[in-house]
Amino acid sequence: MKYSGFKVLWEGLKGNTGWKPLWRNPDPKKNYEIIIVGGGGHGLATAYYLAEKFKITNIAVVEKGWLGSGNIGRNTTIIRSNYLLPQNQPFYEFSLKLWENLEQELNYNSMVSQRGVLNIFHSDSQRDAFVRRGNAMLMSGADASLLGVDALKKLVPFLDFQNSRFPIKGGLWQPRGGTVRHDAVAWGYAKEADSRGVDIIENCEVTNFLIKNGRCYGVETTKGVIKSKKVGVCVAGSSSQVMGKIGINLPVESHVLQAFVSEGLKPVIPGVITFGAGHFYVSQSNKGGLVFGGDIDGYNSYAQRGNLPVIEDVCEGGVALMPMIGRARLLRTWGGIMDMSMDGSPIIDRTKIRNLYFNGGWCYGGFKATPASGFCYAHLLATDKPHNDAKDFLFNRFERGGLIDEKGQGNQPNLH
Amino acid sequence: MAKLVLKIEKPLNGYSKVVNKLKIDEYQFDSLISLAIPLKRERKCKLNFKKSLGEPMPNIENSIINKSGILGFRIGIDFLFVCNPSHSSFTKKTVPLLKQAFYITDQTGGWCGVRVEGDRVIEMLERICPLNLSQKIFAIGDVKRTIMDHLNVIIFRETEKKFILFSPSSSSGSFIKSIEISSRNI
């Protein structure tokens, strides 16, 4: 179904009777060329790019719950390409470029809103690190600028410039960063993948892989056996659970990350702002809620809920950075399960089982990566070669020592 | 050359205030040392402790006060503090004696002590102390280490309504402010 302002008007006039489901609800076929395990953002994007760019349409996306029920349905919606390391920055910039045309490509308005991402810094050494990062951004073709305190006072006058414990010394500003209406991304990809023939099968949990002679040829599911030439796993927080079915231990721990939204307020926050002396970042949605978050709870968890210490820590950071939000009320908290990798960077790679592929380890940064992750995973699934912008996201980097550790925290996932 | 004299300063300069009927005083001491029990030497240390201080070595989270007013408390499986408020022979006699069994580390300058006292002291502590202060759980003479208002604090119950709190000396300003605000806020 093609959407447009005209269509909305026309349907409005005839009582909105002509709308159709965004995707079908098919039963699984016996055989596919490729099965994507996981109907979240990355899985749906992978299916879409396989169909659109690599013309492989005989695909099933199998999802254990409802479509988009993972982290695409519970994140804080930020997109940006402000990474430091050469293995990361070009990939995220590629992703940001895909975001910029996504709505037209999918004919679905996911409200890609490039109102900027601002990282505040509070010390000279933080500034040095941000300068290095900003230069990496520019060298990869992204945008970045360094703002001094005077510029910040104009852009975000409500920050605590007078009384803060850790004085604000400036910020790294990426105007092209922003936010996206997260659920709509899943729905848009689903709609377009479906229209190209991809079967999206909800409430269909993979219970095992079909493996013979070291090759994978399909999956067992709660809706029966489904065979395929290739299987691509893409299940974020459930990565260890799914790969564990065939005894593969991953360099991944699952952690809970909480997110928060306030009551609806008339918009005051221009883009995304992150605090550099504590764990807090915030944006304001188009409905008016302040959407904010901070650090992961810090212990292995599959519970999709968090605990009080992190809520307090995040709110302390928020009030420290912008005391004007103090009287706004926290409306809702929730948690998502992050596939925290050992060096804080993702994996898009083949596995030691032939025809079985893995995409995961996105930590708490998977949302912004959705288009490029889908694109690069599709590239790998279709061609058996890593995409150039994801060529370092391989399992063997841990053996080789080619770590991609943006934060320099080492092999401890809860510090990334 | 004139003889150089270095003046000693207490972390809170003898702070003493009454806030909301709560008495808040710096708890001053001449010295504070920590004792580490060498691996597998608990027995020897127990004997030595008794000999050196005249009281049995306390169990974890317990304390003793000896005749000279010296306070000893244990906050780890192999770790104790001994605080000497003012007894004169402590450094010259007791410490060398303890050294025969324990590893000693002088921490006199590392901690600041605050004594809080009053009918509403529990209500005050409720605002910063995550521990259960019920006497069933936290009896007189008990000592625990925890976090209050982002600060590491050792809390010792002297009586039902009297506590001594120790916190690192470098943050003593934030510490006393936190206690003052808690007292004001009840």
């Binding site: 599959y302 | 759980i137 280490r145």
Partner: protein
Amino acid sequence: MLIDHPLLGLRDSSEFIYRGDAKLLYRPNWKSKNSKTKFIDYGYLRKNPAGVHKELWYHEQGDRSWLVVTRNTVTHEILKVELARDTKGKLK
């Protein structure tokens, strides 16, 4: 969360620092065969179960002991807590 410290009783988890899988107690011998592979497994690969997990917590704002906590990662229920040095003593 509350952690039932074997020596001190129930204490709020905010007094603790989390480290991860208790597998870290069992550091490979550096002279063993394939020591690099073993260290990579030790350093990087995790079972990461959805269910019972043995993990290390450090009582930083307390008695400074390292604990092995057996906890369900789905319900967060804590089943057992012991001192790391005791666990280590028992098993290897």
